[in-house]
């Protein structure tokens, strides 16, 4: 009987040990960062590459300290395709839910492209209580939603520029060309998606209508549009001096080529994603001299010597992947988001989503795009000085193929110059 009791005791002890050991191994497993995004677009493709880059850097330094143990980070991604024309929002939401349920991520980064998908996806994020730091979708409506129910949506943050901040940078550009060259006639061309519509409406209402500009025309183009000749003819006949494009679709490159080939006598100043990176000079046959583009975050395919971390980031990417970064929206905030997340986990000392979300909110970090802090709507604060806030970067393509930073003043290396062939209205 004693023998049996002894054997049973030994067996029980072994079982307990195995359970504890197994639990220990599970506990020491990697912390999964989920990346649901549109990997078929350059912003998503480079964003995912940058998540891997940041994770490798963090793991190379020993990983993340969670309480008393060090844990490595791991990346799981899914292509939710929401940036592609015709892909319905529910399909993107299914992708977000799938990665949450199947990969059990501790947190998500990048997130949806389309603001429509973000707004709808916020309820899924809240339901599963997975902190998410978004770096692409830009509608300010998400901030209002967070403010309307802070407890429910406390897991959702954004490190990239939003449409309201984008307008402040565009206003800076428009005010400059108005003051320097006397331009006051603009033609607005935007992609027919939430963030671009919001940007066009905000700048029209808050700036053009109040400062005496004439909006010669305003066209909204469905994603996938591949001919802009009608608007370009209207621009010529209407005498617009500035074209304000707001596009993140690859087909907007056609607009650049048509602007060139149709010899439209107006300055291109806004955001066209294919114009953001250094490769645009070759893609557009060296004919984009004078075009002004807002890269949504410093570090996203553009660096400033005045913010050395942005230069290091740009160089590290090129060294690791063998070619320069091309996406003017997403890369820098994505890189920062991984670090923000890692730091928040360390401060929280656990993987509890509420604790992580609370720590993310307390972020105060100087990184590649300047200083990052979050406001009440969980939006990273953008400003004009990288020591005080995150910054976007407006640059102008020179006739020699260089990109000259022109705004904000704190990171500018030059001023906007009149493109060749255009005359000042002063």
């Amino acid at each position: 009987m004693k023998k049996h009791l002894g054997a049973s005791g030994l067996l029980f002890s072994l079982l307990v040990l195995c359970t504890v050991f197994a639990g220990g191994v599970y506990g020491a497993g990697p912390i999964v960062i989920g990346v649901p995004t549109s990997t078929g677009f350059v912003e998503g493709k480079e964003g995912l590459a940058i998540v891997h880059m940041a994770v490798e850097e963090i793991n190379g330094k020993g990983g993340v300290q969670v309480g008393s143990e060090r844990r490595m980070l791991a990346v799981e991604s899914i292509d939710i395709r929401d940036a592609a024309p015709g892909v319905p929002v529910p399909e993107a939401l299914l992708g977000i839910e799938k990665i949450i349920l199947e990969k059990k991520p501790t947190a998500l980064v990048i997130g949806p492209f389309r603001s429509e998908a973000l707004l709808a996806g916020m309820d899924i994020i809240a339901k599963y209580k997975v902190p998410m730091i978004g770096t692409i979708a830009m509608t300010p409506a998400s901030e209002e939603k967070i403010k309307s129910d802070p407890d429910k949506y406390k897991y959702i943050f954004r490190t990239c520029l939003n449409a309201k901040y984008l307008v402040t940078y565009l206003v800076g550009v428009m005010a400059f060309v108005n003051k320097e060259f006397g331009f006051d006639k603009v033609y607005i061309m935007n992609q027919d998606v939430a963030w671009a519509r919001a940007t066009a409406d905000l700048i029209t209402k808050n700036y053009f209508n109040k400062t005496g500009w004439t909006v010669v025309g305003h066209e909204a183009y469905p994603t996938g549009t591949s001919d802009f000749s009608s608007a370009l003819m209207k621009i010529r006949s209407g005498g617009a001096q500035v074209i304000l494009p707001i596009f993140d679709m690859p087909q907007s490159g056609i607009l650049v080529k048509q602007w060139n080939s149709m010899r439209v006598p107006a300055m291109l100043a806004g955001f066209i994603s294919p114009l953001a990176g250094p490769g645009a000079w070759k893609t557009f046959d060296q004919k984009i001299g004078g075009a002004v583009n807002v890269n949504f975050e410093l570090g996203s395919a553009i660096a400033s010597q005045k913010v050395p971390k942005s230069v290091d980031f740009f160089a590290s990417y090129e060294k690791k992947f063998g070619k320069p970064m091309e996406a003017g929206h997403g890369p820098a905030p994505t890189y920062e988001s991984v670090y923000i997340l890692a730091e928040a986990i360390e401060r929280a000392g656990s993987l509890d989503p509420d604790a992580i979300a609370a720590e993310i909110k307390k972020t105060d970090r100087i990184g590649v795009m300047g200083r990052i802090r979050f406001d009440d709507g969980h939006q990273a604060v953008f400003g004009m000085d990288p020591n005080e806030a995150a910054v976007a970067c407006v640059f102008q393509w020179s006739e020699q193929g260089d990109r000259i930073n022109v705004f904000p003043q704190s990171i500018a290396d030059g001023k906007i110059t009149l493109p060749s062939g255009l005359k000042s209205a002063k």
Partner: protein
Amino acid sequence: MFAGTVLYALINSVILLLMAIGFNLTFGISGVSNFAYGALYIMAAFATWMLMNLVGLPYFLSAILSILFTALVGALMYRFIIMRVRGQVLSEVIATFGIGLAILEFFRYLGFVGIEYSLPVFLDHSFIIAGTYVDMQRILIVVSSVVLILLLWLFIHHTSIGLAFRGIAQDERTALTFGMDSDYIAMLSVSIGAGLAAIAATVIVPLGTISVGEGYEVLLNALAVCIIGGLGSTGGVIVASLFVGFAQRFTDTYIGSHWTMIVSLVAILLVLVIKPSGLYGKQKELEERI
């Protein structure tokens, strides 16, 4: 403004025609709905890009090789996949759509995403026509389309293979009794259709950049034009291209650009309601339904 709109509407129509002509030819001869058509278009563009940038071949040689390669892929696709399901329309559609999906997603998987994937224009110059600037590439698209249509007409009407094409298109069983190999002719029709997709890509892609998503757009455009014109009817495709092309540009100019995308869809709906077989379609069974 009006003259400029007409000019760009004409160019738009020709672009639509070029996009659709290969799809239409394949369907008209063999009855195969090649839903991999858009993917073949993108594959040809990427093949040209790779030959230029990775192998270092000159542009024209790269373009010719990629056209031949795409035509070969079309032939192999027929020989090893479509031939096994030919005649079963749903199976054909599923098989070809699956192939197209595989091709496009394979390029996406390989990382063919970004603005560096573009092709150069043949001649970098702009002209003023009717008071509107038009670039040489668009003029070239119009000229090459006219030449292509003429060559196709000559090929179909003045060569023995063209005669066989027409024979199979008119009545496959009767053609078989005359010793025509219908599978061989169908393979050629898929192959030539794929080659035409490649030619379209070679001249149209330099207007923008190559993106995987464009493959789906090309397929939708081709389908829209062919359905409106009447599947298999070359004359119908020409008329439908003009109709859709002009409607799109005039909507863009005088109504609003955000309505442009639905023009072709509305046209399809109208045609299906009024004349289900298309403007020049000859499918009696469809006509008899209304």
